[in-house]
């Protein structure tokens, strides 16, 4: 019995800029992009105002859900952020939920969540710059007293770091715990059936049937949804908080 927990495997290396590694996370995020593109195309095909089909109602529900989130958390003047928040939500949810299909979630890789948090970070800094001007952008770090400057600078970088680590930690811990439980259940079924001399019966993974599905519902479906939601909520709160 061996429990293999490793990072994303390197599939191949692009021979440019000294070799760019294409890992499982990269491939799976490409897969997410393809799924999202196809879904968008399929859901928005033949839209109509007077007699909407089932697909159109689903698409409208999704758009209205994101619009409702942005409206209630940021205000209606932030309508231009709806596409960004929707993108983050869709990408994060589909990436995490991918582990249901047995693929490695891209969000279980710190690089992917760090990239998402970096985009949010640039948005936050951009809106600080836009609302306060160049001078106010730097003087806000010295508030309330000048002694607090190092603390404020650390705090500025702690925001994207904690965003990325939170998402990564939740999804990666789900992966690790699922792998550990799977290994333990394999050992248990060996313990129950291993004494039977018939090799076919002795190798039936009796404990691995059904029990991992319960974990999967929590870690793959519930946790993915909650983490995508939380990532969006914190993104919106931070960006809206930059303009005050």
């Amino acid at each position: 019995m061996n429990v293999a927990i490793n990072g994303p495997k390197i599939l191949f290396t692009l021979p440019i800029f000294g070799g760019i590694n294409i890992t499982e996370s990269v491939r799976n995020s490409w897969l997410v992009l393809i799924i999202v593109t196809c879904l968008c195309y399929w859901l928005t095909k033949d839209l109509s105002v007077h007699n909407p089909g089932k697909k159109q109602i689903v698409a409208e529900k999704l758009v209205l859900f994101v619009k409702g989130l942005v409206d209630s958390n940021m205000g209606s003047q932030w309508a231009h952020m709806i596409p960004f928040v929707g993108t983050i939500l869709t990408f994060s949810f589909l990436s995490s939920v991918m582990s249901v299909a047995g693929l490695r979630s891209p969000t279980a890789d710190f690089s992917v969540t760090a990239a998402m948090a970096l985009v949010t970070f640039f948005f936050i800094e951009f809106y600080h710059l836009k609302s306060k001007g160049l001078l106010g952008f730097f003087t806000r770090l010295t508030e309330p007293v000048i002694v607090m400057t190092p603390m404020n600078i650390v705090g500025e970088f702690a925001t994207p770091l904690s965003l990325a680590l939170r998402h990564f930690g939740n999804i990666a811990s789900g992966t690790v715990i699922t792998a550990l439980v799977y290994g333990a259940l394999a050992g248990l079924s060996q313990f129950i059936l291993g004494w039977i001399p018939n090799t076919f019966i002795a190798n039936i993974p009796i404990m691995q049937i059904g029990i991992p599905a319960v974990l999967s519902v929590y870690f793959d479906l519930f946790s993915s949804g909650i983490q995508a939601y939380i990532f969006c909520m914190l993104t919106m709160a931070n960006i809206a908080g930059a303009v005050e």
Binding site: S162, L165, R166, F168, G169, S173, M233, L234
Partner: protein
């Protein structure tokens, strides 16, 4: 010998780091309990209370996640072994 010592100490460190899971557990439990009480008093404000609670829980969880990341680093990418 030295390597074994470092690995044993890291294993103990991983266990100790995960004690930090205690704090977020208590904090989130308290927050959820308060949210339940609030929903009981004002059932019409359920949506607002729920989203605020989830946001608060996410922030309270941060320290626990930090400890998890520390233990994951010690488990899978132990920097102390490389120092030998």
């Amino acid at each position: 010998m030295e390597r074994a010592l470092v690995l044993a100490a890291s294993a103990i460190g991983i266990g100790l780091a995960m004690i930090a899971g205690l704090g977020p557990g208590i904090g989130e439990g308290y927050a959820v309990g308060q949210a339940c009480a609030a929903i009981g008093r004002q059932p019409e404000a359920q949506g607002k209370i729920q989203s605020t609670m989830i946001l608060g829980c996410a922030i309270a969880e941060t320290t626990g996640i930090y400890s998890l990341v520390v233990s994951l680093i010690l488990l899978f990418a132990n920097p102390l072994v490389n120092l030998l």
